[in-house]
Amino acid sequence: MGRYTVRRLIQMVFVFFGVTLIIYAAVWALPGDPIRALSGNRPMSESTINSLREQFHLNDPFYMQYLTYIGNLLRGDLGTDFSGRSVAQQMGSRWPVTINLALMALLFEAVFGIALGTIAAVRGKVTDYVILFFSISIISLPVFVLAYMGQILLGVKAGIFPVSGINEGWLSYILPGFILATTGMASVARLVRSSVLENLKADYTRTAHAKGLSNFRVLTRHVLRNSLIPAVTFLAIDLGYLMGGAIVIEGVFNLPGIGQLLFRSTAAQEGAVVVGVASLLVLIFLLTNLLVDLLYGVLDPRIGYE
């Protein structure tokens, strides 16, 4: 277990450098001069261009630029955007929004996913097909379409939830969180359904029935407990994806979070912000994946590590 952890950590460090290198290259090294693009059609003076190039190390060879950036990153310095605002500060005020959104989504995924999956498994064929049909329909629509539909039906028409901004506290997060959760919810439901079906046939379930436990107790204490492992690991992995999905949802619902910052900076070609946000999101993604792999062994002792 110890050696496995160390090996995975080394692998993760390698992947982190690879991913950030590609992101950095995509943002800074490809065609299009980020400095000239700043001023649009009105040319900047050569001296301004030169000082900006100097400030962002654009005159250095590419690998030096990257190494400088990573060096600063490791010291916690994310640099500034073109107008001189600190990237770390811009992100700092936005993290809570994205984290609230992701946690809200995770909660919906867990509660509804597990409930729907269990119901689909234990309640006859019709219920099963209805739930299956809905979960496949949901994953077949782009999340922004679901978001629009949610806004029209539950926001504008029914007036139950606010459709934009975060001015109404946690209430503002319910609709976006739910929409963000839909895809994962469908996956959790399918995972739980198949493992509940499998565990319903297990010997220990028969034993539990035979010793006279009620159906409900067998289901909650024996079957569900063993069926939740795949769902829990999925939920943990999904946290990383939710951060990415937040790009779309925060855009549609106008939530001032990390995703919206990333999206706006991409459009505005604010390279430093894009690379900073993206690197941190990748780091979260990789860390959750690592945690899940380790967690898996703890939850299910049958799984061993080489």
Binding site: Q11, F14, V15, F16, G18, V19, I22, I23, A26, V27, L30, P31, G32, I136, S137, I139, S140, L141, P142, V143, F144, V145, Y148, M149, Q151, I152, V156, G240, Y241, M243, G244, G245, I247, V248, G251, V252, L262, F263, T266, A267, V274, A278, L281, V282, F285, L286
Partner: protein, 308 residues
């Protein structure tokens, strides 16, 4: 495909029986086909997929049913108007017929779905076989590269890579999506190749002096590729959705292309007053993706020996 697998596999077809007597043959592929053709879900989803493919290749067949059928014949006077006689789906913001646009949009969306799947499949089969078959350094290098691309959250990676292209076509979008999508398939390919590398018929072929190329193409691939094909079919729908989402974010296809993603993305400014702009493209997109997903599901179940 299935016949090819059969004839190349010496363990399953040891003698030269008359190959046209299809009913007596039995193999995973044939069992799967027998299962599938009686499955109503398969029949339904396969028909829809077929219909959409025809629509993608010959949009003119359907577009002319109502009105002129020309997606670029527009009249600003009817901008955002709802369904009217001759225009069952209404008009978009530019006053173009939504029905004609939705029919013509099938091509771009489905092309991206299929191209990404094809690119991923080729990359995965080539790289997965090399790393599974030769092992050693090849394996180490390919596995580390796949780790890196696997380390991208899908949407985030696509967003950033696509921003660096100023002109984006079906090809660039497909290329970027494939770049992020191949690692899962390649890992699967690598493990299936590894699982058949030491079986008797491969050793026999080696003993007979067959070249590596011949061993891989004639003996290993036919026995290792099925799971990869199955997983690929499951991914098509997801890639179609990904294209629409990226187009919505402004980094996917661009005008003057016609795609469901572009139509949905254009709907965002006016969908509260003109919901038909949202409903019809998403209906077509949704039905297509559901069909691809169900088709993939049925194919996977039919090929899963554990479920037989």
């Amino acid at each position: 495909m299935s016949d090819h697998v059969l004839s190349d596999n010496p363990t399953i077809v040891p003698v030269v029986e008359p190959m046209n007597d299809l009913t007596t043959q039995s193999s995973l592929a044939r069992d799967a086909w027998n299962d599938m053709r009686r499955n109503p879900v398969f029949l339904l989803s396969a028909s829809v997929v077929l219909l959409m493919l025809v629509m993608a290749v010959w949009p003119g067949l359907f577009a002319g049913w109502f009105g002129s059928g020309d997606p670029r014949q527009c009249d600003l006077a009817v901008s955002n108007n709802g369904p009217a006689p001759g225009h069952p789906f209404g008009f978009d913001t530019q006053g173009c017929d939504v029905y004609a646009n939705v029919i013509h949009g099938a091509s771009a969306s489905i092309s991206v779905g299929l191209l990404v799947t094809l690119f991923c499949f080729v990359l995965a089969v080539v790289l997965g076989s090399i790393s599974g078959f030769f092992g050693g350094w090849y394996d180490a290098v390919i596995s580390r590269i796949s780790d890196v691309f696997f380390g991208f959250p899908f949407l985030l990676g696509a967003l950033i890579l696509l921003t660096s292209f100023s002109e984006r076509s079906i090809w660039t979008v497909s290329f970027v999506l494939a770049l992020l999508g191949w690692p899962t398939l390649a890992r699967l390919m690598r493990s299936t190749v590894k699982s058949v590398i030491d079986v008797d018929y491969v050793l026999a072929a080696r003993g007979l002096g067959a070249s590596n190329w011949r061993i891989i193409t004639r003996h290993i691939l036919p026995n290792a590729v099925t799971p990869v094909i199955v997983l690929s079919t499951l991914n098509i729908g997801a890639f179609i959705v990904a294209e629409a989402t990226l187009t919505f974010l402004g980094v996917g296809l661009q005008y003057p292309a016609i795609s469901w993603g572009l139509q949905l993305s254009a709907a965002q400014s006016s969908f509260t007053v003109s919901p038909h702009l949202l409903i019809f493209p998403s209906l077509f997109l949704g039905v297509t993706v559901v069909s691809f997903v169900l088709l993939g599901d049925v194919v996977r179940d039919a090929f899963d020996p554990k479920l037989r």
